[in-house]
Structures are given as structure tokens and as C-alpha cells.
């Protein structure tokens, strides 16, 4: 399916002065795609040239369209000497290749030079005409949509979630080629930028092919990373989740701008699998399809690098001495759950999902975090027979993850991600995810309705189902604290739950959540090659253990019992290892109340020591109490008898349900062993432990009015207002090399992170009350004594008058995070009300909880029903919202539904209107919002325009003149933001969601007055519409179709 790429260069502005004599510039433009180059005329003596060129036309294969970036170079014409380059613009034309995204790229792009930064702007128009071609053996995958968002994108519906796709490509790093010694830094940087652009294009195309093979049409949770391995080369790898998505037609239909029926037509041949030939042959695992990756497309620079892996100790979490550590992970009970596990294995090698949020009902049970690391040596030895070492490494790790998940009785891993840390020739590969049991009906080809399994459905209470252990308690090799679920009292739950996913929407949470971090440094001797790798792999299990202990302690100190969005990053440096774990702690109502922390001294006879201990103990208890108050954790006081030994009746019932393998004796035994013994005991037997306790207490809570979390949304806060501020903050500290001890190091690192957070709170104080969401810390060790911490997050304001808004915001939340169509929404509420309503509590609204806690010892059943109401109403109204959107096709109204709608929304509506800032009428540059979240508060995403994946290098040889390292990096990051915004605006979008800065590699050489920085960012370009505007539109439409909502209304009242 070849295509025609058309480019028009319109004008330039704010160009730099290139001719000192006249203070002007004679600019012209080179437009290059593949090997074809066009030039515009020279526009003499102007800083604002108007080229208004003809349409430059490139006739190209769609394979090239996917791989190659459009390269636009602005030059200054010089009659006597060589033309001087002003700068370049790389435009990824991928968004034009799938139909319902952008149709044209048109706008002002910053002209970027790797040495001088942004130098003026250029106005460009790009279009693509695709010709249909039913080539059976095509190499391209045009039409497959890519999303960075790790949930099903709004305005789409997941028909099938196929599963894991991965790919990697390798090349030599231009920076390390011999030619780099003779070319300019600029040429070298540009070669690198171009190469990475090419490689990511190729990678995306190959992933697309795999998706087509799986008969999917989209990749969700697409995560692409670069490994800069120095002399060993450059690896670009990507993972994602293949899906078949259906566009929800209604929301977009309101907007004239997005309404392009002709485009929809164009899509069909691309998306539907029948049009390509590979289909029938694909029973084999996808993994094998990666065959000749190194030989295609890079005809010029044939990769010469090969890795010989040194499999020095895969340091997984199952390390011998620490078997007890993550007990959720290591319980090896394998409960066969019907036929579901093997169904996955048949077709997919790795049942992994990069998604972190799921359609309702998708996630059935969560086992716990599974992770695997392995230390490898990057080797330069030329060995062309083994081009796939990298692939093998990852396969090994994934295999390990898979077996961990199996050990937890889970057949899938969700919230899956992979990362590397490289220092010289040592590389740590890490993978982690959350073992889970999924509802198979989303995963299967074929009809959605056909495969509902009754057995699974009946065990699926909404608010707590995912907490129930997926493994068999009988076969647990370790004493685990299991209790009956505090919510439904039917099934067992662990006392603590760690996950890498976002909090499920329907989870019942008490109070608010908070960011919890574990920080850790370990010194290591400098060593070479294998000795180094061995040293590192020996250290890893200790670090994992300590990180886990810290997390556990801090969680208990906060009075919470579950972690979401857990991300453990281990960074390797020359002489140290750093561990940073971030997660969002919450109190899950289904899980038992966490016990306190008990301090035990070693020498109980010493009086003063004793006193000290009791003093510490008091401090800890006070902190826990304070935190409970701060985060509003007031679980209903249920007397010990009720919790400790579950009431016989429900137990019998549960045994009936889970008839297969339970013997009542053992259950009782387990129950007895649990109980009051759950207090966490910290033994202070040496200074190390003392330090630990101290560091526990030094974590300062955010100032009042601030909350923070690293998940998409803050549990317990629902009423977001529309003001958002995304930011990136970078800090580098230099350690004094004199007395580096582990303790000093830990303290430095801790202070660094804490101070950084404090600075953020201070800077954003004008937004109070607000919440820092998706706080993402990245640690790197650029040099011996340097620690670099990069934070990207978004601050979102919220409304204090929470109670009034609960209903509305629930609606929002579910709409934002879930995309299900009419039919499915219909199905779910019905299932839920018929099935779970009588016995299972739903997520409580805040006011219910408050009343419950003030009225301690309120019977559970009563609580359940009262709670039920609000949540169910939410479902209904969320569904009604959807109907509202669809309503333009259905004209008949009904009083009943209208009433419900009005009950649900007016509060929020009014607030959004009040809060929305006045439109910036006189601004010439359109505002583009950026957020690491998958949604924009107070707004509805109506269209996805394509993925933004950009890589920039900036270098300077006049560091001091540019304001030192801070000035240099500040300007560069601002420029990166600007370029992202410009590309989004040119695609016709007004926001980037799921934005992430995947890499920020900063190197400096102050003595030479030099610095270099590489930044890689990605996200989804979208069009959003303010809800206030949308509602104006939709309220004009009659709300219709009473049928489905009536049953809902009756149940709720």
C-alpha cells in the first residue's frame, strides 16, 4: 500500500540573524524524506520568510512512511561559502497513517538545533494519500493504532484484549562510531536523533505487524525505551498490549470538527484482518516472528554488535534466604481455575498486559507483585551468530515472571513493565507486574456474550473481588495472615496487598491515599566485568529485601494496608546501587486493619535503653494516629470477635461455594493463628535498625491542602477541578566523596527526595487544595559522586466541598477510565444487582463512611446496603451520561431518566463552569495541556490523534554562558515541552495525555564548559472538550431511552 506524502513549506518566523552585516537571514528549506530531497527558493533578507512553496510530493512505500521521519532543514543561503544550517524539524507522519486520527499536520514547528536549541519557527503542511493495496506479504502495519495510555482509551471500547506484544531493534550508536571523531558534534547528534527516529518507526511498524497477526487493531499501553549501551550499541525496545478496539461513535459525533464519515470509510480495509494474508498461518507463538530484525532496513550500517550474556545470577524475588519476604508472591499453591489458564498458554507465550486500569469485570483477582531482575554483561565481542542475545535475555526474564505468577495461582500478569539500568558494561534488566486472574471473556476471540462463565461470575463481588486470594490457602508453604474479606466475608484476603496497577475503580477505599517511597543506597566496590556483575547480583536480593521492609514499615506507619502503582527502580552506578520504590498507599476496606509497629530492644535489662525504646514506640504510635487522622482513615470499628473468627454462617456458605479443596479444620487453624498477632515487630539490635526507625519518622507529610500519589488518581478524592499543571523537576547532587558510608548515602538520598518534594509543594502552593498525581521519580547515577533525580507529575486542583460532588465525580471517574459501550454497561449493572447486591458491599461514598465510623459497631449488613446505594447510583448515572452522549440519534425522552440525570450532574456542572478559566481570546498560540494521566479533569477526550514519541539531543560548548547546568537543562526541558506542544497543535490536538519523560540523560563537563543531554518523551495527542461545553451541547438533546435505566432506578430506591 504505497502512498504519496505531500509537504508544503509556508513560512518562517523569528529566525535567528545569520548575516551579521545586514542583521538578516537569507533562508531556504530542504525537505527530505527517505532519499529524496526538495528545496524551496531562497527568501532573501528576512527573519520572517514567506516561502509559500509548491506541494513537494514524495511517492513512497508505506513501510517507509512508517519508519522514516519527515526531515525539514532550514538553512541560510551563502553565496561564497557553505550554507549554514539554522535548524531542523523532524515530523513523525505516523498519525496520518491511520484513519480516525489526524488528517493533516499543519502548524508552526519550532526549528531545533542540537547546539543552539530552538531558533525560530516554521509553518509546514503535511498530508498523506494512501493507496489501497492488498499485498499479502506486506511489511507495513499502517492502520494499527498506538496508545501510550495504559487503560482502554476513552471513546473506544475493547472488544478483545489479545495480550502482550514486544519487539526490539539494535544498532550501533553513531556517537561511538569511528566517524564521530572527525565530524562535528552537531552532525553526530543529528545522526543519532535520526537513527533513533528511524528505529522507533521500524519498531512500531513491527509491533503493528504482530498486532495484525493477532487480529488486533491497536496497541494500548505502548511503552518504548532506549538503552544507550555506549560502545555496545543502541537498543530500542517496546512492549504493549494488543487489543481490538471499537470506536464509540457518539461522543465525537457532537463535534463538527471530528465528524468525518469519509475517514471512517477509509479505515475499513486497514483494520480488518481479512485483508492481510498472514492470518491463517498464525498458530505459532508470536515470539518466533521476530526473525530477521537486524538485516532489514539498515542496509548502510549493518549492526556489528553482539551481546554475549553472562547469566550471572538472575536475582529474582525467590532468593533463598528471603522466602518470607513477599509472601503474596511466593505461595506456590496452584489452583486450577477451570479451563482458563491453558486457554492463554495455547496462543500466547506470555500472558502479560501493560495495562494498569481495566474495563469493569476484567480483573478478577490480584495475587501480588511479581518481579524479576537479572544482571548482564554487555560485551563487544563480535559474534554475528548470536544476534538475538537481547531477545533471549528478555525472554528469560519474562519466563521467570510468568512462573512467579503461576506460583501465585495466577494465569496473567497485569501492570507489566520492563526497564534497564546500565553502567559501563553492566546492565540490570528488570521486569515487574502484578499477578492476576482475569475474566476470560475479554481475552477471547469470538462473541463477548458466549463465554460468560457462571462459576466465575458468582464469586465476583465488586468492591473487594480483586482482593481475594487467587491461590489456595491450603498449599501455602508460609504462614500467611489470611482473613475473611472484610467486605463480603466470603473469601480469604491477605493482610497486605502490593500491586503495580492503578486502584480499580470499584475498589472500596477508606480515607485518602498517599505517596509512599522506599529509598535505599548500597555502596559497592568498583570492579570490572564479571566480578562487578557478581557483586551486583549479590547485592540485589538484599536491596529488594530492604526496599520491601521499608515499604511495609511506611505503609503500616500510615495506617494503610495496600500499595498500588508500585514501581521499584534499581539503578546501578560505578560504586553504588540505588533503590527507589514508589507506590500509593491506601486503606482497602476489604483488607484487615494493619497492626501497629512494635519496637523490641535487644537488651531489655538496661533501664535507660528501655526508656528510649518506649519513647520511640510512643512516637511511632503517635505518628500512626496522626496519619490516620490526616488521611481520614476511619475504618468502621468492628469488634474483634467479628473479625477474628468469621461468623460461622458465612464461612459455611463460602465453603459451599468453594467446595473443591477446603478442609474446615485447617481453615480454623489458620484463623486462629491470625488475629492480634499482626503487629509488625521491629528489632532494634544495632545502629542500622535505629537508623531505619529514625528515617521512618523523618518522612514529613505534605503540607495541609496537598496530597500526592503515583497512581492516576488519588483514592478518596473525586471532585477534580479543571486546573492542571504538569511539570518536570530535575535535581543533581554531588556527594562528598570523603566519608561515604551506606548510612550517609542513605541520608543524602533521602534528603534529596524529601527536599525535592518539599520544593514541589512550595512551588505549587497557589494551587491548594491540590493533589500531585502520577508522581514519577527516576534515579540515575551519571557519575561517581552524582545522584540525579528526575520527577514528572501533574498537580490537579480539587474542590473541598467533596460530599456534594461525590456522585458526579464517580460518574466522571468511571467514564474516564472505562470505556464500555452501551450494551456492556447494560449487562454489568444487571449482573451486579442481581448477583452481588444483597450481600456484597460496594464502594462506600464518603458520607456513609463517616456516619458509619461515628456510629461504631454498626452492623455490617446495614452498612452494606447503605453503601450500595450510592455506588449503584453512580453506575446508573455513568451509564446515563453515556446515553446522553448517544442521545442525538434517539429522539424520545423520558421523565424518569431526566430526573436521575439532573440529580447526578448539576453540582459538578455548575462547578466546572465557574472554575473554567475565561477563554484566551487574544492569544495567538493555542494552549496545549500536558498530563501524565490518561484523562483531563473536567473534560472529555473526543479524539485520539496519534502517538507522540520524540527524542532530542542538546549539547552546548558554552555552558557558563547559558546559565550553567541548571540554565542549560531548564531551557532544554522547556524547549522539549514546546516541541511536544507544537506537534500536538499541528495535529489539531489540544492536549497530550499519558505523557511520560522516559529518559533524561544528562552529562556535563564543567571544565570544558560542555554539557549534553538526551531526552525521550512520549504521550498520546488528543482533542478534548470541556465538560461544561459538552453539556451545553448535550442538554439540548433530549435524554432518551428509558428502558435500561428503569430497572436500575428501581433497585436503587
Amino acid at each position: 500500500m504505497p502512498g504519496k506524502l505531500k509537504v508544503k513549506i509556508v513560512a518562517g518566523r523569528h529566525l535567528p540573524v545569520m548575516d551579521r552585516a545586514s542583521d538578516l537571514t537569507d533562508a531556504f528549506v530542504e525537505v527530505k524524506f527517505g532519499n529524496t530531497t526538495f528545496k524551496t527558493d531562497v527568501y532573501l533578507k528576512s527573519l520572517n520568510p514567506q516561502w509559500n512553496s509548491e506541494w513537494f510530493k514524495f511517492e513512497v512505500d508505506d513501510e517507509d512512511l512508517q519508519d522514516e521521519p519527515l526531515q525539514i532543514t532550514v538553512l541560510d543561503h551563502d553565496t561564497y561559502s557553505a550554507n549554514d544550517a539554522i535548524g531542523k524539524v523532524y515530523i513523525d507522519i505516523d498519525p496520518l497513517l491511520y484513519s480516525e486520527a489526524a488528517t493533516v499536520i499543519s502548524g508552526w514547528f519550532p526549528i531545533y538545533d542540537t547546539i543552539h536549541g530552538i531558533r525560530g519557527e516554521i509553518n509546514v503542511i503535511v498530508k498523506v494519500d494512501l493507496f489501497n493495496d492488498l499485498n499479502r506479504f506486506r511489511q507495513s502495519s499502517c492502520g494499527v493504532k498506538f496508545f501510550c495510555t495504559t487503560s482502554i482509551p476513552k471513546c473506544y471500547r475493547a472488544v478483545i484484549i489479545h495480550g502482550f506484544v514486544e519487539e526490539l531493534v539494535v544498532n550501533e550508536d553513531p556517537e561511538y562510531q569511528w566517524i564521530d571523531r572527525i565530524r562535528t558534534p552537531r552532525a553526530s547528534n543529528e545522526a543519532r536523533q535520526r537513527l533513533i527516529s528511524l528505529m522507533s518507526g521500524e519498531l512500531q511498524r513491527k509491533i503493528g505487524l504482530k498486532v495484525l497477526e493477532m487480529r488486533g487493531n491497536a496497541v494500548v499501553g505502548y511503552l518504548q525505551c532506549f538503552d544507550l549501551e555506549g560502545e555496545s550499541g543502541l537498543v530500542v525496545r517496546a512492549i504493549g498490549t494488543a487489543c481490538t478496539l471499537d470506536k464509540l461513535s457518539s461522543p465525537a459525533a457532537f463535534l463538527p470538527a471530528c465528524n468525518s464519515p469519509s475517514k471512517e470509510m477509509k479505515e475499513s480495509p486497514l483494520v480488518h484482518p481479512p485483508s492481510h494474508g498472514c492470518r491463517s498461518t498464525h498458530n505459532s507463538p508470536i515470539h518466533t516472528a521476530t526473525g530477521s530484525r537486524l538485516t532489514q532496513n539498515f542496509s548502510v550500517s549493518v549492526p556489528t554488535l553482539i551481546y554475549t550474556g553472562m547469566g550471572s545470577g538472575s536475582a529474582g524475588k525467590e532468593g533463598g534466604p528471603f522466602k518470607a519476604l513477599l509472601r503474596q508472591q511466593t505461595q506456590s499453591a496452584l489452583e486450577q481455575r477451570g479451563g482458563s489458564p491453558h486457554r492463554f498458554c495455547r496462543r500466547r507465550e506470555f500472558p502479560f498486559f501493560t495495562l494498569t486500569a481495566f474495563p469493569p469485570g476484567f480483573l478478577m483477582h490480584v495475587g501480588g507483585v511479581v518481579s524479576a531482575r537479572s544482571v548482564k554483561l554487555l560485551d563487544r565481542i563480535h559474534n554475528p551468530d548470536e544476534p538475538e542475545t537481547r531477545d533471549a535475555w528478555w525472554a528469560e526474564i519474562r519466563q521467570e515472571i510468568k512462573s512467579h505468577a503461576k506460583a501465585l495461582g495466577c494465569h496473567a500478569v497485569v501492570g507489566y513493565s520492563e526497564s534497564t539500568s546500565i553502567c559501563e558494561e553492566v546492565c540490570i534488566l528488570s521486569a515487574s507486574g502484578t499477578a492476576a486472574v482475569l475474566n476470560p471473556r475479554f481475552l477471547q476471540d469470538g462473541t463477548v456474550e458466549g463465554c460468560l462463565e457462571q462459576r466465575l461470575e458468582e464469586n465476583l463481588p465488586a468492591g473487594c473481588g480483586f482482593c481475594h486470594i487467587p491461590y489456595d490457602e491450603l498449599n501455602m508453604p508460609f504462614p500467611a495472615h489470611l482473613t475473611y474479606c472484610y467486605n463480603c466475608r466470603k473469601q480469604k484476603v491477605p493482610d497486605v496487598l502490593f500491586t503495580t496497577i492503578d486502584l480499580p475503580i470499584d475498589a472500596t477505599v477508606i480515607g485518602k491515599g498517599c505517596l509512599i517511597q522506599a529509598r535505599l543506597c548500597r555502596l559497592k566496590k568498583k570492579a570490572q566485568a564479571e566480578a562487578n556483575a557478581t557483586a551486583i547480583s549479590n547485592l540485589l536480593p538484599f536491596m529488594e529485601y530492604e526496599v520491601h521492609t521499608q515499604l511495609m514499615n511506611k505503609l503500616k506507619l500510615k495506617g494503610m494496608n495496600a500499595l498500588f502503582g508500585l514501581r521499584i527502580q534499581i539503578t546501578v552506578g560505578e560504586n553504588m546501587l540505588m533503590g527507589l520504590a514508589s507506590a500509593t498507599g491506601v486503606y482497602l476496606a476489604a483488607l484487615p486493619t494493619p497492626g501497629g509497629i512494635q519496637i523490641a530492644g535487644k537488651t531489655p535489662n538496661d533501664g535507660s535503653y528501655e526508656q528510649h525504646i518506649s519513647h520511640m514506640q510512643k512516637k511511632i504510635n503517635d505518628t500512626i494516629a496522626k496519619n490516620k487522622e490526616l488521611y481520614e482513615i476511619n475504618p468502621p470499628d468492628i469488634s474483634e470477635e467479628i473479625i477474628g473468627s468469621p461468623i460461622p454462617e458465612p464461612r459455611q456458605r463460602s465453603r459451599l461455594l468453594r467446595s473443591q479443596s477446603e478442609s474446615s479444620d485447617e481453615v480454623t487453624e489458620l484463623d486462629l493463628s491470625h488475629g492480634k498477632k499482626d503487629a509488625f515487630v521491629l528489632e532494634i539490635d544495632d545502629t542500622d535498625a535505629m537508623e531505619d526507625v529514625h528515617s521512618l519518622l523523618t518522612d514529613v507529610p505534605p503540607p495541609s491542602g496537598f496530597y500526592s500519589c503515583n497512581t492516576e488518581i488519588m483514592p478518596g478524592i473525586n471532585n477534580w477541578t479543571s486546573e492542571i499543571q504538569m511539570f518536570t523537576s530535575v535535581r543533581v547532587i554531588r556527594l562528598s566523596s570523603l566519608n561515604l558510608t551506606n548510612q550517609a548515602l542513605n541520608k543524602n538520598f533521602n534528603d534529596l527526595c524529601e527536599n525535592l518534594l518539599k520544593s514541589l509543594y512550595f512551588k505549587l502552593r497557589s494551587m491548594i487544595p491540590c493533589c500531585l498525581c502520577h508522581v514519577n521519580f527516576t534515579v540515575s547515577l551519571p557519575e561517581d559522586e552524582l545522584i540525579q533525580v528526575t520527577v514528572t507529575a501533574v498537580a490537579i486542583t480539587f474542590d473541598k466541598n467533596q460530599a456534594l460532588q461525590t456522585t458526579k465525580t464517580h460518574v466522571e471517574k468511571s467514564l474516564q477510565r472505562v470505556s464500555t459501550d452501551n450494551e456492556e454497561l447494560l449487562q454489568f449493572p444487571l449482573e451486579l444487582c442481581s448477583d452481588s447486591l444483597p450481600s456484597h458491599p460496594f464502594p462506600p461514598a464518603k458520607e456513609h463512611l463517616e456516619s458509619a465510623s461515628s456510629n461504631s459497631g454498626i452492623p455490617a449488613a446495614q452498612r452494606a446496603t447503605s453503601v450500595d446505594y450510592s455506588s449503584f447510583a453512580d453506575r446508573c448515572s455513568s451509564w446515563i451520561e453515556l446515553i446522553k452522549l448517544k442521545a442525538q440519534t434517539i429522539r424520545r425522552g423520558s421523565i424518569k431518566t431526566t430526573v436521575t440525570v439532573e440529580k447526578a450532574s448539576p453540582m459538578g456542572e455548575g462547578n466546572f463552569r465557574n472554575r473554567s478559566t475565561p477563554p484566551c481570546a487574544n492569544s495567538t498560540v493555542g494552549v496545549v495541556k500536558m498530563t501524565p494521566l490518561s484523562f483531563i479533569p473536567g473534560a472529555k477526550i473526543t479524539k485520539y490523534l496519534g502517538i507522540i514519541n520524540m527524542f532530542f539531543i542538546r549539547e552546548t560548548t558554552s555552558l557558563r554562558e547559558e546559565g550553567g547546568v541548571s540554565g542549560f537543562l531548564h531551557a532544554f526541558i522547556a524547549e522539549v515541552f514546546a516541541m511536544v506542544r507544537a506537534h500536538v497543535a499541528a495535529l489539531g490536538g489540544n492536549a497530550v495525555v499519558s505523557y511520560i519523560m522516559k529518559q533524561c540523560v544528562f552529562m556535563e563537563n564543567p571544565n570544558k564548559n560542555q554539557a549534553q543531554c538526551l531526552i525521550n518523551v512520549s504521550g498520546d495527542a488528543v482533542v478534548f472538550v470541556r465538560e461544561s461545553e459538552l453539556e451545553v451541547l448535550s442538554t439540548q438533546q433530549p435524554t432518551a431511552n428509558c428502558q435500561p435505566s428503569c430497572p436500575g432506578g428501581e433497585v436503587t430506591t
Partner: protein
Amino acid sequence: MTSELDIFVGNTTLIDEDVYRLWLDGYSVSDAVALRVRSGILEQTGATAAVLQSDTMDHYRTFHMLERLLHAPPKLLHQLIFQIPPSRQALLIERYYAFDEAFVREVLGKKLSKGTKKDLDDISTKTGITLKSCRRQFDNFKRVFKVVEEMRGSLVDNIQQHFLLSDRLARDYAAIVFFANNRFETGKKKLQYLSFGDFAYCAELMIQNWTLGAVGEAPTSPDSQVDDMDMDLDKEFLQDLKELKMLVADKDLLDLHKSLVCTALRGKLGVFSEMEANFKNLSRGLVNVAAKLTHNKDVRDLFVDLVEKFVEPCRSDHWPLSDVRLFLNQYSASVHSLDGFRHQALWDRYMGTLRGCLLRLYHD
């Protein structure tokens, strides 16, 4: 542990108004931090000095990067690097171009040259405004001057268009540019009692009536394209002003003028006798000022002359402002009744403006 690098970049550029003010006022980072500490911000927010330091540095760096754009405000609107809401952009520009009364009085009417710039440290010591701030203000004056110097059309409009200033501030800049261009002396000791506002008021009147632009404003004559500028006084007009001399040179005319004024004002003026005694001196003063305006030197001394020849004599006789107003009205109007005097229009153009200026200048 030393911080090597410490930055914060928001998708929307954060602007802290207080820090912006400190930066504009030319304080160093450490001074600014000290001042912020003194403002009690640490207590309010529970932040530490280190946090404040980092925050201040960050804002200073941002302002430093923005400064380049602020030199040509339309660039700030079109640039893509900093995403700033329009209201904030306006605030940045307005504050950047705002100036201190004390400073502007020092340089008003001076040539905006390197020489003057060298004297800025003296001005800084004298006014207590930091040298950095003085430089910024001076450079602003000079930059605006350079940009609008050669432009046609309304001075205020040009300034507003190229610097996106508020109406008020654009008018002030017009006055500054006008004064700098005509080099009016404003620094003499006897002029010290006058505020920038007084001068700006006069400048506006003069721009409206005495410049080439003022003539061009009348139904746009096609040949006015030569230079319809607001910055230069209408040379022809200044030449013509010589004709007014007969008002004082011709003894009969002067007597007649006096009697007309005295008749009209008798009983209405508290200081009638003083007026009557001083009439000829005052009239000579005002007319001679007009007649001398052909020389650049005398143009520069316009305000000195006005104060010396009119304001001071009246003030020494304790004329109330209302009497000055009555006198000037009558003094200008009576000329129309002088049959032997033909330059009525010229007189009105001169006196209309001068009357406004004098009334403004007449205070303690």
C-alpha cells in the same frame, strides 16, 4: 552534599508575582531570599530556607530567559517555548515596562545615550534604586525610543502596538520618548517640585497640538506622508510663533490687551491688583517664550522659562490656582478682540496648550 543542578519546569510557566517584583527591582538571589524570609513566607508555608533559595533561583532563571522576549513583547505572545496564560503575559510585560517615578525624573529629557547610561550608578545611589533596575528602566526607555523613533502615526498607538502596553503606560512612554527627543530640561533645581505626571501631562498636550502629527490629524491630507510624526515639534509652527511678538512689542496692542483683561476680571480676581501690576511682565514672559522657540536651546529650556517667567512670579504673589485659571482664560480669549492682531489661529494653537501646561505646572 551540594546541589549541582536544580530545576523545575512546568508546562504552564509558573510566575510568582512577588519574586518577579524582586527580580525587576534588581535584587540578587540572596537578597531576594532574605527579603522573602523577612516577609514571613516561611512561617506561612512551613518551607525551609533551602526550599526558598531553590524556588527563587528557579524563578530568576525563568525571568532571565523571558527577558529576551520581553524586549519585544509581541514575541512573547507568539513564542512557543513558554506557555503562559494571556493575563500573565500582560502582567509580565506591564511590570517589566513599569518604571520608578524617582528614576524617570532623573532621566526625563536627557539624551538616551551611552553617556547617560554611565551616570546610572549616580542615579542609583541618589534614588536608592538598584543599578540593575535603573539599567532595565533606562534600556526600556531607549528601546521604546529606538523602535518608535522613525515611525509614522500616533506615538501612543505605535508604542502600544509594538510593546503591548496598557493605555496608561503607553502614554507615559510617549511622554518619555517625546521629552527625550526634544531634550526638555527637567532637572534644574527650580523644576524639582514637578512630578513626572506634570511633565507627562504637558507632553501629551504638546504632542496633541504642537507636533506635525497634530496637524496631520486633521482630515488626512494626502501629502502629510512626509513626516506626520508625533515626536518632533512642528518647525513651521515654531517659526510662526515669532509673529506673536507684536503682542508685546506693539505698545498699543499690549495696553489694549491689558485693559481688556483687566476689565473682564475686575472684581472676579482675588489678586487683581497684583495681576494688574504684573500683567505686562507676565505677558512679555509668555510671548517671549513663544518667540524664542525657534532655537533648539530655548526649546529645551521651555519648562525652565515657564516656571521662571510665569509660575514663580504668580506664586510669589500667592495667586490661588482658580485665579490663575481665570487669568489665563481671559488672557487667551481677549486676544480675539484685538483688531490689529491677525494670528488668531496661531495664538490659539500656542496658548491653548500653554494654558493647560501652566495650570498643571502651577502648584507647590
